[in-house]
Symmetry: C2
Amino acid sequence: MVIVQKFGGTSVGDLDRIQNVANRVSQTVKAGNKVIVVVSAMSGETNKLVGYTEHFGDNPERAEVDMVLSSGERVTAALLAIALNQMGHKASSMTGRRAGIITDDAHTKARIERIETEAMQAALDEGKILVIAGFQGVNEAGLVTTLGRGGSDLSAVAVAGAVKADLCEIYTDVDGIYTTDPRIEPTAKKLDKISYDEMLELASLGAKVLQNRSVELAKKLNVSLVTRSSFSDAEGTLITKEENIMEKPLVSGIALDRNQARIALEGVVNRPGIASDIFGALATSNVNVDMIIQTSGHDGSTNMDFTVPQNELNDAKAVVESFCQKNEIKDASYNESICKVSIVGVGMKSHTGVAAKAFSTMATENINIQMISTSEIKVSMVIDEKYAELAVRSLHNAYELDK
Amino acid sequence: MVIVQKFGGTSVGDLDRIQNVANRVSQTVKAGNKVIVVVSAMSGETNKLVGYTEHFGDNPERAEVDMVLSSGERVTAALLAIALNQMGHKASSMTGRRAGIITDDAHTKARIERIETEAMQAALDEGKILVIAGFQGVNEAGLVTTLGRGGSDLSAVAVAGAVKADLCEIYTDVDGIYTTDPRIEPTAKKLDKISYDEMLELASLGAKVLQNRSVELAKKLNVSLVTRSSFSDAEGTLITKEENIMEKPLVSGIALDRNQARIALEGVVNRPGIASDIFGALATSNVNVDMIIQTSGHDGSTNMDFTVPQNELNDAKAVVESFCQKNEIKDASYNESICKVSIVGVGMKSHTGVAAKAFSTMATENINIQMISTSEIKVSMVIDEKYAELAVRSLHNAYELDK
């Protein structure tokens, strides 16, 4: 098999950990696989370098910032190659440039445009282990670019897609994706398999492991991902396309999102285009609106309820206040003491009653559901934040996720 | 003027010092010059990285070592470019690759083969300040190489030669070349100008400032060098070709070399080829023989005296012992309590009596001269090490170098 193994900052956090990574790569190679390793900078290194670039004033030249930031991964990649060579393997490090990772010009948050695989393929054909510096590429002009937060995962997924690897393993300090946050529900179980779409909906459960950007890219490139721990031999969680999952569980996991705020507008004049006015303005201000509910009031006016991320609430407020003034809206209220609980599972598509069970579970616990939204594979409920843990635990129990 | 300014590790040792460097570069630009800056890694950084590469075992893959080591200069270069941009200048950092510095394949001690100046020239024509990562280049295959100790100076000199710069300023924590070591003779004066050849002979005086490799390259490329301090505005010392120095001083400086050991062979059979035997064998063992004196003994045999660097004495001993056994030589003695004092000056070429004054000065101080060697611009004497400071001070005084 051709396997891409990606190791994050904590996994290569010091020289001994780099040696541990070398041991793991060595095992994978000795088991008969061809291995491409993608590494992050040693933990703390990138933050240190970011601090350096911000020392001289605001808005440092972003091309230069990329030159600084990209150095951390180069060092880790070469050190891992050194460790592997010392163990008797043939290993070569590659910068983003050498690995053929071509990006657009958006320094510090570049997007991978294509990967020229010739150099990687030639090295693989020579029987070498490749160690690629993650998080970086070059633009068409040959200048170094970086991919932004979670960039090394993107490098790994993109490389896996480009060389048609059989598997892309993402190693972190967490051993996989759980049915829910184990700090809330200790009986949470690690999932063996999960589909891309479920993973995207369960983002909060994988937040420490994978960014949605990487899952989306894996889905697009049809790369099977495994997230697992670099500190244990435990099997991780396979994230793959739905067709690869034989037993489709009704519910795969319960996600909790505390970063939610609810905005309620009462007495909105119900004229055509009014929704477009407010949500268009919010989009222009880069506020991500999540759930939207519109209900008719008694006087022919309408009520609008929607949620935004808490950290975008201030931006949202500015838009809403101005909208209210213009449209003579009586009352706008803001509530940050809410959370969103979601039940996710591909099995919902072909089964009825999943949502009903969620609602009845809430009722049994006397939890008032403030908002509901559903998709093919998800039921989300907005509730009072104080019930967050109770809701997660009782739903986890109701769907028997501990079994 | 086009000026290359090179700043060493202590000059860019932290972020505030990088800001100081930016201020100095800014002044030079505002004075109407085009500036190319060459920087080392922040002091301590390269040693840290070397330590990393040696963690995993002996003989780390040298191409990988270069990948690790070259990162320090990249960071400094980009940070300095950021600082200059924040000050309103247009500055771009360049790696060795981007600056077109092409080397041979000798990783960790590569030699610069040529410099492709197109990219530098284009950026200069756009009015940009260039900040080049020193110490590094790429080989023909495009792999990063480093130039070994003193490599950033070499980068600066080579770049200055390639773009035909008017001046190459080497900034360190020392403000120039002195007539002798000021710790020995407090009246030592800073030299305004000195020729390449004098500088090469005075290597010990410039040891903290410039390696001979860089001076030799400057001489070859006809690059006028200035060594000066990055921590003061004091004028430094200009190192240039002899023709550029109008008043040729009789003596420019007094150098002291304590790293000397003397080997004396008595009763050597005086047959043709005997000198070639011993010195050929020493050369094969990479021992650098400095001064050689051969004198006839009373019995038709010959005595051979020569000096080697103290840190090569053990290697030399092995060669000498084997030579003595083969040639039935009675007596070989080794003396490490010696030193070499040298008087250097281009003016000697056209003046007599310079050497005589040195000898009479030694006589006045009752210092026995053990060996003498002379060149066109130098008189060297081997004396007992305990007289080292006295000899330097009295010679400095005799040639009136404090005037």
